[in-house]
Symmetry: C2
Subunit: 353 residues, 2 copies
């Protein structure tokens, strides 16, 4: 027994109407005489017709009414990161509102990424988390669909959403300087996509291939050097931004035991430092100040509440999705702002200067 897939044409025939009318019966029921419509519906029912197949509609309509989010981590990691979650909330909000679909396109290995991007049935892409020279941008561009890059400026033919990373980082460092800190350590996001972690030397620092990391580092460096502290004298430790942030926290506290302030390049890292500090019996902010970056929801909820650089994460998602669905490709720049909470305070008297 074969599976006899029922098509619109079959229904039309069974109902004794033309295919055009049958189509209308489903899509614009109001313009077809009730009597005929009933016949069509009856035929559909008795044949077990599943309704117009989107595949056919799609081809005809041109528009898919769906967007793809390309994530370069595996999806598991992607959703463990609160930043991504928040971002996706923004994207999802727009999709919901517009009734648009949402496809996730994982790209952990380059080959599958290519295939996925080439064959995704979407109206456009949002590219998240990209290294500087990533081929994903090339692939997306080749597809000739609108795409927007987040935290990266891929050129004038695409949309992009960036925030003032440098200014935010600067503000974070200035805040700590203003409190009187002079002994810093930096816990940085990956500089290079080779999985290495730990202390960073100058050559590696200069080789950063991630836009976000580079800018934030530059912001820290500017503020510190304006206060007479050379970035080369500051211990910098590189860490992954998932569960393994714990390890990064341990390493940075080991590498700079005398630091009174930690500049963490993400809230995930900062929260890990907070946890590690507790483990070591160093009180925050009395013994140690910590400032994060991003202002994910968890930052305000932690104890102590995390001082961090706020950026409009969900807003970014909303804007990105909006751009794709509207077909626009502008370049949007957003501000960051320091959110001072309870994880920062002046350094202990004895350690000042």
């Amino acid at each position: 027994m074969m599976k006899p897939v029922v098509r619109l044409a079959d229904v039309a025939r069974a109902a004794g109407v033309s295919q055009g009318t049958a189509s209308n019966a489903f899509n614009r029921p109001d313009i077809v005489r009730p009597e005929l419509r009933a016949k069509v519906e009856a035929a559909a029912l008795s044949l077990g017709y599943a309704g117009p197949d989107p595949k056919g509609r799609l081809l005809r309509a041109g528009k898919v009414h769906a967007l793809g989010v390309v994530v370069n981590n595996s999806l598991g990691y992607f959703f463990n990161d609160p930043f991504n979650r928040e971002f996706m909330r923004g994207v999802a909000a727009v999709c919901d509102a517009e009734g648009a679909g949402l496809s996730l396109i994982a790209s952990h290995d380059q080959k599958s990424a290519a295939w996925s991007i080439e064959s995704a049935v979407v109206d456009g892409f949002i590219l998240q988390c990209l290294e500087g020279g990533n081929r994903l941008v090339e692939l997306a561009r080749k597809r000739r669909l609108p795409f927007v890059a987040v935290d990266l400026y891929p050129g004038t033919d695409a949309g992009s959403i960036i925030v003032d990373e440098r200014g935010g980082a600067q503000a974070a460092a200035e805040h700590l300087l203003g409190l009187g800190h002079r002994r810093f350590a930096i816990l940085t996001l990956p500089l290079i996509d080779d999985g290495r972690t730990g202390p960073v030397d100058r050559s590696r620092r200069d080789a950063t291939q991630y836009n976000t990391t580079r800018e934030r580092l530059a912001g820290y460096a500017e503020a510190l050097s304006a206060a007479g502290i050379a970035i080369d004298s500051v211990p910098i430790v590189e860490s992954l931004n998932d569960r393994r942030a714990e390890e990064g926290a341990r390493m940075v506290l080991d590498a700079a035991p005398e630091a009174t302030a930690i500049l963490a390049m993400s809230d995930v890292l900062a929260l890990a430092v907070l946890a590690e500090a507790v483990r070591r019996g160093r009180r925050v902010p009395q013994h140690l100040s910590v400032v994060g970056f991003d202002d994910v929801p968890e930052a305000a909820a932690s104890r102590p509440a995390l001082t961090t650089v706020h950026q409009p994460i969900m807003e970014k998602g909303r804007i990105a999705a909006g751009m794709i669905l509207s077909g626009a490709t502008e370049r949007v720049a957003l501000r960051t702002a320091l959110a001072v909470r309870d994880s920062t305070a002046p350094p202990p008297e004895t350690l000042r200067r």
Copy 2:
């Protein structure tokens, strides 16, 4: 200047070959003479052809090679729930491995859900988090695509994955009874989809429309009544399972101040109870025992580590995705197992019996 969309036919014409050959040049490069292939590629390049459009391919191929996950919360909430994240990791792992796409279908309001399900371009659906009589199952069924329901048995024409909820709940209660507890309170997931929270009376308890909730409650009740404790004598408090779990935790501790053990119907709820207990200065497990349900990653990481009912969340995702992609529609039942950790202990001497 119109946008002259380049089609395969245009490329073929420009290259002076048939459309069939042009198609092969892209999809089966090996069977076309290198010389011709080069011509096609050159033509494509100069015309700015984006490569075969998946929309066309789709129609021809029949298979979409993508699956849809229908979530009934808004996506924002969906991904805030660690259970869903874990589940999606399983789904994503399979999609990655098979090179299949993954579409998210939000269904927060019934009308948009209908439209989304009817017009999603996928090979099948995974239905998550469904109330008993939900129309989503009907919609999915109507679409005549394979679908699998998670934590629900929708009938023999569809796949389903269920776990031994009742047995797990029973084990949780028995564990506490075995430790000597006699004064319980239950913090339950929603019983009815009306947003109400707080103390639950008997009639509401019997009206549960959620399969999972019903089963777990039944498991608790069985174990307790076997020990001579009537379920009607146990305070039951209903709570939402997102951020508002905090409120539920407060309510249950208020409603049953003398309870020595809390049966929480999810880890999210249990973790909220842990946090609230800290706030009230009640030590866990010395003063209060708490057992959760699900065993999300956070459960093992909390302090104290949460005693909970383990269920193979990621595995469920993997199986669900596998079933869709392979077109199977079996019924899979999985086991639960109690994971005893540090949030449970015998009740304080003074309060025993």
